[in-house]
Symmetry: C2
Subunit: 685 residues, 2 copies
């Protein structure tokens, strides 16, 4: 049957070519015509639905996108932009991110752990280019960073020819390749593609004595820009915009709309530089927007620009549509974007191949498959999800380190009232839960007031709680010399933060010394406890049976070596020896060993860490005035799912065995005592 099909296919190909050519000329003609602005939005939106343009592009072409991003909040915004872009894209992408140190730390970790196939990310240090724009007085809310778009031809690699530049408050509703296709329509002289500004700002009639920067008609909006970098460099772009800006700043004291004022002023002088893009590629939801004239139906919309300071609360006839689109990506599970772009072969992200191999080697039928898979899972990590403003750290400062999921969020306020010092917390959340978390913090005066609590989001994936990985994420982000390794359901003594700093100073512990200060742990079975304000009060409550030593009834081995009897009387720190299953809460130098992240779910996760400390010859010193109290709570969802399962306990045993094999490998004969202890506990169990 094939021979019969072949000629038909050839005929079809010829006709397709004709079709594309017709489409091409049609578009090209219009584009040239519509570059002259006349105050009306002249792009015919009914045309925009035509896709054939895309076919002009080489399949699998690498598309370049540049974004300037600085600070904590913009780093959150840019992720929603990136999610919307990845959702619709079919091409490999190269993101060029011009960032400050804060955004770089966040985004570098995010992309490294996100591991999206066919996405490359390069970082550029905003500080290096600031001096080129910092002389320009600017009152726009985007600040100095808005202006940095002007220096992109200089900042980006010299061999980079085309780039799409985006503001962080952009949401895609279509495939970015359709936007990229407009590069094919630049005439020989054009080098900047822009959408008209959808407000009357540049008409200069908004109020009496309103004097905007010069622009062609309504001017252009710079939230979405297509740049032919090669031509800009050749045309002397840097001299061009600097000369224009300097001249205009003689009479206009400041830019109101940052880079956009300068782009418009240059274009007013050189209108031939610009290709006008259809308005649907930058639908501007500014206050008093005229965007409604741009589209007539939902399918017209390609790119939404939230360029009002009111953001989602902006007034617009179709704001519900826009808001729903935005929320779709805000809450979208980013893990689902880790999808292979099949059809376009691409270099896998770093680590991805080994990971795939390791996962492929697992045996799905193995009873502990879920444990092994969870251990290998690379979780997306968003460091410092909320703004952080840590005080300069003293030498003896201590950060409280803990991890939690949604069901412990309500512990945060109490914890903040007990611990005024810095905290580094890892939160295990879905993308949607991060938004609930945000609203929770915003609604809490206690939490909003704190600027020394770092929240690191580790995105949920897989059935088991990756407790030790979470601890490691939080631990790695502590900025002080010492860390207090706690759990979220413990409230420390009100005085503990000050007492720990004083003790570290008094004991003259340099951060090099291998010491673990033990904070004795107690528990309350009452959920309305009047919290003891001193050791004396605590002892009284203990005697009255209102407090207990931690897990005294179900797991006394966990804290027995702390020697509660001695602690009652102690006036000075005293040294204790490791024993099997010891898992005290400790204060250690930040450089302490990491937790073993193979322990996922519940059980033995802290025990293994204490073994590691002992193996590395950390000295355990119990502090006589320190204490922390476990608050009662219902069992977590994660724990109740598994604790009844015998298979679960078998897998935990297997993890312990592997851990001990590794110990022997690393510490040799010195690790023998741990193995002996394990075997004794097993034979006594």
């Amino acid at each position: 049957m094939l021979p019969r099909g072949r000629p038909r296919a050839l005929g079809a190909a010829a006709l397709l070519l004709l079709l594309l050519l017709v489409g091409f000329f049609l578009f090209d003609g219009r584009l040239r015509g519509s570059a002259s602005l006349d105050g009306e939005l002249t792009w015919d939106h009914n045309r925009s639905a035509c896709v054939p343009l895309r076919s002009l592009q080489p399949k699998c072409e690498l598309l370049h996108v540049a974004i300037v991003c600085a600070g904590y909040n913009s780093s959150r915004d840019v992720i929603t932009l990136v999610k919307s872009m990845l959702f619709y894209r079919k091409n490999p992408l190269h993101l060029h991110l011009v960032t400050d140190d804060v955004a770089r730390n966040i985004l570098e970790t995010l992309f490294h752990t996100w591991m999206v196939p066919a996405v490359r990310v390069s970082f550029y240090n905003a500080n290096e280019f600031q001096s080129q724009v910092s002389w320009i007085p600017n009152t726009h809310y985007s600040g100095l960073y808005g202006l940095l778009k002007l220096v992109l031809p200089d900042a980006l690699p010299p061999d980079l020819v085309r780039v799409i530049v985006l503001d962080t408050d952009i949401t895609f509703a279509s495939d970015i390749a359709e936007l990229w296709a407009f590069f094919a329509h630049f005439s020989d002289k054009q080098m900047i593609g822009l959408v008209e500004n959808q407000s009357n700002w540049y008409l200069g009639n908004l109020w009496k004595n309103h004097r905007p920067w010069p622009a062609l008609g309504r001017g252009f909006n710079t939230g979405v820009i297509l740049l032919r970098l090669d031509r800009l460099r050749e045309a002397g772009w840097e001299q061009m915009w600097k000369a224009t800006a300097q001249r205009l700043l003689l009479t206009l004291s400041t830019t109101s709309l940052a880079d956009q004022d300068i782009f418009n002023a240059v274009i007013k002088e050189h209108p031939g530089l610009v290709l006008l893009l259809p308005c649907i590629w930058n639908v501007q939801l500014s206050d008093h927007t005229l965007a409604e004239h741009c589209y007539s139906e939902a399918s017209d919309l390609k790119v939404i620009h939230w360029n009002s300071p009111r953001k989602l609360r902006v007034k617009n006839k179709h704001v519900q549509f826009f808001r729903n689109l935005y929320l779709t990506f805000l809450e979208y599970d980013g893990n689902l974007l880790r999808t292979e772009l099949f059809g376009c072969p691409s270099q896998p992200p770093p680590r991805a191949e080994q990971l795939q191999q390791a996962l492929a080697q697992l045996d799905e039928e193995d009873a502990c498959f879920e444990f092994q898979q969870q251990w290998l899972t690379v979780h997306r990590v968003h460091l410092t999800f909320l703004p952080l403003d840590p005080l300069p750290s003293e030498a003896h400062d201590v950060t409280l380190v803990a991890q939690l999921s949604m069901d412990r969020l309500q512990m945060l306020e109490a914890l903040c009232s007990h611990w005024p010092g810095p905290m580094s917390l890892a939160l295990y959340l879905t993308d949607a839960e991060t938004q609930q978390f945000l609203r929770f913090v915003e609604a809490s005066t206690v939490l909003s007031a704190r600027s020394n609590v770092a929240y690191h989001v580790v995105y949920r994936e897989g059935p088991l709680y990756p407790v030790n990985h979470l601890r490691n994420v939080a631990l790695a982000q502590a900025l002080t010399s010492y860390v207090f390794l706690s759990d979220i359901d413990f409230l420390p003594a009100y005085s503990l933060y000050g007492y720990l700093r004083a003790s570290i100073k008094q004991l003259d512990l340099g951060s090099q010394r291998k010491v673990a200060l033990v904070v004795p742990a107690f528990e309350s079975l009452h959920y309305r406890l009047s919290f003891p304000t001193s050791k004396a009060e605590l002892l009284a409550l203990l005697d009255a049976g209102s407090l207990y030593t931690f897990r005294y009834d179900v797991w006394p081995r966990g804290h027995a070596p702390t020697d509660y009897a001695r602690w009652r009387e102690a006036r000075a720190p005293y040294r204790v020896q490791w024993a099997a299953d010891y898992e005290p809460y400790v204060v250690v130098p930040r450089e302490c060993p990491r937790y073993d992240s193979r322990f996922v779910g519940f059980g033995w996760n802290k025990v293994a860490h204490i073994v590691e400390l002992d193996a590395q010859e950390y000295e355990f010193l119990v502090l006589p005035e320190a204490f922390t109290i476990h608050m009662p709570h219902a069992p977590s969802l994660d724990i109740s799912r598994f604790r009844s399962s015998p298979a679960y306990r078998d897998c935990l045993q297997a993890l312990k065995d592997e851990f001990h094999q590794d110990l022997s490998r690393r510490y040799g004969a010195a690790a023998l005592k741990y193995l002996t202890a394990l075997q004794q506990s097993r034979s006594s169990a």
Copy 2:
């Protein structure tokens, strides 16, 4: 400037027309040619990306979709299908759902509360048509309901001409209008549009003596069907398929693939009926699928068909891509699909207009705006989210009614062990949380074993917990004459279920009698309570200070009228009088008054209901052996967000005032005592 633009626009329109005509002929030719199968998948997938087809359709054309859906699990599946369809659609839709009683109850409520603009839903009773297919022996997992697709030309309204028929295990990756556009390519004789079957099943060589039903080559898959109903009716479709089926069943004892076998057998005899659709419109992820030959890149994929019993666990090279697409819609917030189809004017859903007006009349600056908005919110409701198999109810049976959100899920197992009887529970969840809930139930042997617990999902929307709306949803679904109105953090006495049934019988309470049986409430401050197994044990714990009467310290008024002192001694039920702020846990006839859903968030929600019972002259009878105990837990996220706010308390006061005004209106002078009580409590506060 306009005159200059006009001729250009006319020229463009002419060219566009040419373009479309070229496209039309091109497609039409290929489609006719490719209807003859040769064992190869002959549709050229590179062509499918061409959108102009869509432009052939009248803008805003109403598209008709028919789905056969029966039972609890298919009702869940169909919602994911509908979400994917709504996500991409730009046209108004009319869904024709052929359902059993279970699916109808679920889906009618769902769509009624979903209120998606430009979606109409009609229901057809599957029972009415079963007799037409029940004579056909069938071994396929879709059962009898699969076969019902054969009777659609008869079952759907006689004036309905075109319909797309979908299986419930379909996921859209594109706009359904693109599929609908293929109706334009039916020749005069064609009446069924189908995709080739992407397995070798019908080739009959899968195993020795494998004898499939007759088909053209690989045959067709009926997961996606375009039907020209008018032509099928005219051609005598019913006689046609019945004759074919009867004849073949003489030699083939049963259908293996339900309706699909019969469709294929008819088509084998009448190949001219069929238009072959491109394979991307039904990418079949069956076991041993050949679908890979169909697509070469992600953008090719239009419709995914999960037609393996393994569903998401099916083996396929690109299964991760398909799974991520499916999960996208499984977890997608359905509220975001309530978006106006602007550009296509359509009748708003029932109630939507009044609702819009009511919402528009609210004052955003009002301190209680959030309360009013929450009250007006229509939450999507998914009744009986999991299969239910209630025993036939006796006259004295009692259903436990309660509501919860994610943070109380871990109470369910304990509750099940305390209450063996039927339960009706409302769960306040996001779409993504419903999946966590599903996994939680699946992982729990206790919960999986229960078939008399109905879970009703009310989808989250808005900042305040709609406690009374949730109670009403659960209450309305109780199937027994009596209901025990409880809260999720209470565990009833182990004997309570039996004791309540016995008491109702003994007291000779018809369901007409206005009586509220009071179950005295206690509280434990210990989270590891050894639960009392008798009243005597409870009293001992009370005397020992291990248990307390409920809220004895913070809110004694709530339960004081129960008269705990009298209860200690009571051997027989005793009557008590209402007093201000009384909020006992009661057993009442199912027809009792509903809760006042204006009370959202926390506070006074049960109190108002008890006032309503008293106003309607319900008699309060305390049962001498009944008790229930509140288990300690951390405060919920919802409560801690608001309880600290004075504005919150002011709004609650305003709600109380409104409630009392309504009471006076409805009960006249009889309601005076409630107002007096309110004023007294206010002056004493």
